[in-house]
Amino acid sequence: MEVAKGYIYSDTELDRYEGEVIEALKERSREPIPDPDKWLDEELGQNILLTTVDTILNWARRSSLWPVISFPACCAFEFLGAASPRFDISRFGMEIIRASPRQADLMITAGTLTWKMAPQIRRLYDQMAEPKWVIAMGACGISGGIFKGSYSVVPGYNRIVPVDVYVPGCPPRPETLLYGIEMLRKKINKRSIITGGKQ
């Protein structure tokens, strides 16, 4: 039934139209509604995930943190302990410790930094590709530690490079470092491309 717009019609006509709509729906309901994903083959249908760009980027970044080799002093041994099978940072996709800062995105500052060495550390940091993070490991990395008053020691890496996570200890045990890495992973997970990486 065609009902022209603006036509003033009687109640019976409306009722009849309603009845026709219901009858048509009832007629169609005898057949099952076709699956809208039917055009996908079975295997492909199970392998599509929908997500946001932020989620996928953050997942990729936090799961492949590659540390650069920049271990100026003794905390390095605790880092090596963390890297070797007992503590095994390869669980986090971190076992590839890069000799080139251009392939790394994490700097673990394991050890005392002297002013003579500071330009090299800054240079390593500058050569790392964005996005990049720094974990200040150990008392010397945080504040210069027991060498704080020395004429030759930098009182904390944050005078040279921006630091994301501070891991205290002298030296920190590998468990502590793993906890620090976990904190950094949580921090990375909060990044958003909308804010340009800021949280």
């Binding site: 002013w115 003579k116 004429y151 030759s152």
Partner: protein
């Protein structure tokens, strides 16, 4: 085990040639005047019976009134060693003769002493700082630093 030569025994041997160069003698060391250092060191190195041909280390001590330089010498042939010292009283511009011409191993150690204690070594081929950077003020291992 390396035998430590007695300072007084060596002093007795040096007496003939360097009588006025010897300041103090003790059982295990020998203090010489810095003007005679090079001559005495050369004598100790070249005399066949002593043949102190290896410089183990040089170090410097700040005694407030003077600096004392300590040289540990050793003979690889006779397996004996000797400690000789020299003193330097000028606090503003201290200098002693360099022994690089006798023992090449003294090169970096003398630069280290210059860097941290501020003692110049006359005759050193490359007398400049080794640990600290150019422009660092003062010599940090001096007792009156900062």
């Amino acid at each position: 085990m390396t035998a430590a030569l007695s300072g007084s025994e060596i002093a007795a041997k040096l007496k003939k040639k360097f009588a006025e160069g010897i300041v103090e003698v003790s059982q295990n060391s020998l203090v010489v005047k810095s003007e005679f250092l090079l001559a005495i060191a050369s004598f100790l190195k070249t005399t066949p019976r002593l043949n102190l041909n290896y410089l183990v280390h040089i170090t410097a001590v700040d005694y407030h009134d003077y600096f004392e330089l300590v040289y540990q010498l050793m003979s690889l042939k006779h397996n004996h060693s000797l400690l000789i010292k020299t003193r330097c009283y000028d606090r503003d511009a201290p200098s002693v003769p360099s022994v690089v011409s006798l023992w090449r191993g003294a090169d970096f150690q003398e630069r280290e002493i210059f860097d941290l204690m501020g003692i110049r070594f006359d005759g050193h081929p490359n007398m400049k700082r080794i640990f600290l950077w150019e422009g660092f003020e003062g010599h940090p291992l001096r007792k009156d630093f900062q």
